[in-house]
Symmetry: C2
Subunit: 705 residues, 2 copies
């Protein structure tokens, strides 16, 4: 028996190494038929030369596919790193028990019929996990398509996708919850000649999650780029740690997260027993760590392929040389849409290009015209000028079928001379050429995307990776004192006291038991004021006419006090009336909403939006995991579409964004300090006053669970 040490991979996720890069593997339910589920892994590993030990387990055979077979786990000559479980559902739980007892580090369960089917299946799955955990064994699956690594020949999978070919060796790792979609992605990659040879499919995720697998890939020195496909996230800590690990290692993650629509969420639930979660929260977490969310598998592979060059510009700019003005216009449109800057060429360089070809357009995109595309002597100086004089971090050459012409090899030689002098630049070609020609270009170091729009999307993604990798660590969240939540949802006044203790400014107000006290409070705030009936038994004050606005002077306060008491006694004769709340009435502020809710996966999440129609009709809000500092809070505020309203649009004064950011950051720290019993916080409205004049919550609800 040959055996190979697992890849040395210290780190938080090293515990998955026996599962994902084992030295020895047992197959429970091993079949002599290489076309059956229990036969395929053996056939694949034999065909691809897996260097570790393979132990078929089959009580009915002494030999399986030419290998010695063992009647049971206890008969194995050594404890395997990992065992594939390919037995019927009724036998899988006891198989896990046997493996755990033997000390196996990990089981990889192909068997279906668990949580994805019904409650009974869920119960069986729970028993299997309990059995494994009792022995410290990890489980991948059940109902999973497994793992393969084309470079080591480890094929713990029954995927039939190798009928059409083996993986291309390479440094992209795939982690997918869906087996079928994971192998679909891998097959697309292989057909495009992209090296994505390591693929992990997690199925039901009874134990090992896709987040942990991403983390293991991030720690794996043989992986540069991670492609992930997710339907619903089951646990946050593993995923967050994975994202952190990948960012620290400067490894880009490109992720598809499906189930974002109502329809898709429904389909996701019928597909696995996944928690679809709040898509907007997941998107916010991905954005927080610079994970690229791909909308399609093509976009995912475009970006992964481009990332293989490992050039991630921190301040990305695009220079384009084109033989078609039309393509230049198209690329300009896409670049603006994806936020990729295309600064103009320097004036003197433009003048030199004009001198070379009078009717060229030398600004950027540099339209060298089709004539230059036909002329070797002209193309090279144009290309060199864009690279050298333009100084762009990314260069896109649109040469379309020039790359299929007889002149191309000579041209390419000149282009390569320039490219090799600038190894820190990202060079992308949009060409139409036979596959072999494209592969040769890629092997030289060019990135090729036939479609210029897709090229721009991929180039822009490299810049966002660069910015995320280079970003300074975010500021610490503000310190807030310990929060002691009451047993039940507090009154508005009590809620405001809790928030005030965390430094969250509320509109000045005072609970007043007498008209005289109310006048004194109002005199102190200045007029006008708002009066609200104060009663623990009246929750919806406005419904009984219990709120008076624009109370203009002391007399009006006295009259209003009497009116409110009168209305309350009429509408709610048994209510305990504690008096009247007097509050300063703010004018000229912009209404905002700040909120907290508990995400089932990510815990407390803060929301910011403008008030009124912006939240309720336009859903113009932004989310972020708690806690965070004022830098992040400022980013959030600036990210809403309606931000111009806080920034002086329509002749308004600029709002006190700094005070809003302070409030939002403190609220995020408050949410964490309050712990999981805090169900929600709703500060609505918050008045953002003019710059330097603060932001104040006018109403506050804290829900306690």
């Amino acid at each position: 028996m040959t055996s190979r040490p697992p890849t040395a991979q210290p780190g938080r996720f090293a515990g998955l190494t026996p599962l994902l890069a084992p030295r020895s593997i047992a197959i429970l339910g091993a079949s002599n038929d290489p076309a059956r589920i229990g036969g395929r892994p053996i056939a694949y590993m034999k065909a691809q030369g897996f260097k570790g030990a393979i132990y078929p387990v089959n009580p009915n055979r002494t030999e399986v596919q030419g290998l010695r077979a063992y009647p049971s786990v206890s008969d194995l000559p050594e404890t395997p790193d990992v065992a594939i479980v390919a037995v019927p559902a009724g036998l899988a739980v006891s198989a896990a028990e046997d493996l755990g007892k033997r000390g196996t580090k990990a089981a990889l369960v192909f068997t279906a019929g668990f949580a994805e089917v019904d409650a009974e299946g869920q119960a069986a799955q729970d028993r299997m996990v309990a059995a494994a955990r009792a022995h410290g064994m990890r489980i991948l699956g059940p109902n999973c398509l497994g793992v393969f690594d084309g470079r080591t020949g480890y094929y713990a999978t029954f995927s039939s996708s190798f009928d059409s070919g083996w993986p291309v060796p390479g440094r992209i790792g795939i982690a997918s919850q869906s087996g079928a979609y994971g192998t679909h992605l891998y097959t697309l990659a292989r057909n495009r000649g992209i090296g994505a040879s390591l693929c992990i499919m997690t199925g039901n995720e009874a134990d090992v999650t896709v987040g942990e697998c991403i983390g293991w890939l991030a720690e794996n020195p043989d992986v540069d780029v991670i492609a992930a496909y997710i339907e619903g996230i089951r646990e946050a800590p593993g995923l967050i740690a994975a994202f952190e690990t990948a960012r620290a290692a400067k490894k880009p993650i490109v992720m598809m997260k499906v189930g974002r629509s109502a329809l898709g969420g429904q389909a996701a639930k019928s597909h696995t027993a996944s928690i679809a979660g709040d898509d907007a929260v997941t998107a916010a977490v991905m954005a927080e760590f610079g994970v690229h969310r791909a909308r399609t598998s093509e976009e995912m592979l475009d970006i992964a392929q481009t990332a293989m060059r490992r050039i991630y510009p921190v301040a990305n700019t695009l220079g384009m040389i084109t033989v078609s003005g039309g393509a230049g216009v198209l690329v300009s449109d896409v670049a603006e849409q994806v936020g990729l800057a295309m600064p103009p060429m320097p004036d003197d360089a433009q003048a030199r290009l004009k001198a070379l070809v009078s009717f060229c357009a030398p600004r950027n995109p540099v339209d060298a015209t089709a004539q230059v595309g036909n002329d070797l002597a002209l193309l090279a100086p144009f290309f060199e000028s864009v690279v050298r004089d333009g100084g762009y971090s990314s260069i896109l050459g649109f040469f379309t079928m020039v790359a299929s012409s007889r002149r191309w090899p000579a041209m390419l030689e000149k282009l390569n001379e320039v490219r090799l002098r600038y190894p820190d630049r990202l060079f992308v070609l949009s060409v139409i050429a036979p596959e072999a020609g494209v592969r040769a270009l890629e092997a030289e170091g060019w990135v090729c995307h036939e479609d210029p729009s897709r090229a721009v999307t991929a180039i822009a993604a490299m810049g966002r990776f660069g910015a995320a990798f280079a970003a300074p660590p975010p500021a610490a969240p503000p310190a807030v004192p310990a929060v002691s939540l009451p047993a039940a949802t507090p009154s508005e006044a009590a809620a405001k006291r809790l928030l005030a203790a965390a430094g969250i400014a509320c509109v000045p107000e005072a609970a007043c038991a007498s008209p005289e006290a109310a006048v004194a409070a109002a005199d102190g705030f200045g007029y006008p004021v708002v009066l609200k009936i104060l009663s623990p038994d009246i929750m919806h004050k406005s419904e009984i006419g219990g709120v008076l606005l624009d109370v203009a002077d002391a007399d009006a306060v006295r009259t209003g006090f009497a009116t409110l008491l009168d209305r309350a006694r009429t509408a709610a004769p048994r209510a305990r009336i504690e008096g009247v709340l007097v509050a300063k009435q703010l004018r000229g502020g912009t209404e905002c909403i700040l909120g907290i809710h508990q995400d089932p996966v990510f815990g407390p999440v803060a929301m910011f939006g403008l008030g009124g129609v912006f939240v309720e009709v336009l859903q113009d809000v932004v989310f972020r995991r708690c806690p965070f500092g004022e830098d992040v809070a400022t980013e959030m505020i600036r990210a809403i579409r309606g931000f111009p309203l806080l920034d002086g649009a329509r002749g308004r004064p600029k709002a006190d964004v700094a005070a809003l950011a302070t409030m939002l950051a403190r609220l995020s720290a408050f949410a964490v300090a309050a712990g999981p019993r805090l169900r929600a916080v709703d500060l609505n409205p918050v008045f953002a006053m003019a710059e330097g004049q603060g932001a104040f919550a006018a109403d506050a609800v804290i829900e306690v669970g």
Copy 2:
């Protein structure tokens, strides 16, 4: 000399037939070298067997590429239908003159150095067009790459794209302003095996426009689908007529319109001398006629290819059968995003599928699971159930690499049996298979898109085409009386009188010369009222404090009258004061904006939006060419993102959308009746009151030029 009658094509655009499908062609500047611009068309046509007469014109040769050459146009044995002009810029104008005199129907000018270069070039171009028009000759170009038709062998082009292969015969026609991008598109199509053999590139469009070419393709019985690439539209009538012709003929148009960004618009102008125009207006015109706007060339070809099946469901629904639940979720997301309905399977059919495979997900997407993908006996009944029981107009099968497996041919036979029984359905496959396999599927009648997201986008487009083709003609615009615009921009009151004559309701108001008249008017309207100073010399009333709101009773009217006169005399001592405008103050309405502006290409265009931040910060507005009826106006109002605010969101009363629609339609008719001197109309705000209570313009500006 053999010669062939041009395709019989009566219709508005038949005048282009000599240009686009000629019987005889002369080449001015004909070269014996098949690699030179003046030599390529001859070489191509000889190689591809053009059946018409080819007459090289070259004063220095008696023979060109084996054909008899003629020293001049006057020496030609017959008048050619079309002549290619491939002479230097200095000779092109006189060449056009010679051709016109000879009676040539059309000239196709390759020569560059005209309007795309400078003012001098523009002047030469103008002279060339004038010379042509004097003789009734049409001009394509100058600076154009020409025309080719792979089916007839007509190659009036110097494109080098045939180095890599000749066109695939087919029924897609391409019309492009850009030569390089047009041939790029054609090459992409050819490489995908898509039959797009007829390609027209219009260059500078000194005379013939891309709109007219689209129209000619729409009238061409050999064309089913039109793909167009546009940077800027030069004339509306041809394009509108083309869109109308194509819609009437049920021929879909897929169009890229680039230059939508600031950057792209700039690049478009440096590329050709095109009018980039207002992109939003162009988009509105495309939407009006059901033209699909493609964002990328891939999307364009995906949709054109799918349209080749000529199945355009009027009420499109998508049923999906998948071997990957993940792909099902992804497709559900995309379908929701593009507005394609995926109704569930009937309950009884779901039960039958569950009985077949207990862990399938039979709702829709129907996840047959990878197991069914491995099992011929199961796949066919699943597929049949989706088609028969689901009754969807479009069916997407996600079979990924199952289509590369050894089981596939037997499976496909079963799938074909089902497909052929439902010839009115659109069948799309998302498969990974070798190119030859995909081509074979396409030849059988399947549409193949490897990427399921792209498949959904294309399927949704078929439904939008179907809806556009089936749409009843829009209602007639309302009749409005003749409009007699004043010589200069009228006062607010005069503007409102003009609008009132067209049936556009304004807030009730009265010009009052005395306090008593003002009180009488206010009593008539009911309180509160608004008072505004009335003076032809004070345009910005609010700047001098010349507007009073919330005027509550007769006394306040008297006081206010005096206040306004006083303020006006102080602020503008020389202003002629005519009195005070008394207007009813509306409460509780929703502020809207209705406007008109003159688009340089499309003439008067109406705009609708919600007032305030919706227009100014969110640009939440919709445009439409004038005039139109109330049906279109209603669609416009419903199309804005903020429409829920008019439809009862946040507990508001529903607004009187019918009254708004009436106003908008009348405004559109007014704009046309007013003629081109009407520069703009701005009704801002318009108050949309509660249902049944009307909509009233509170302010109106009419700009006259």
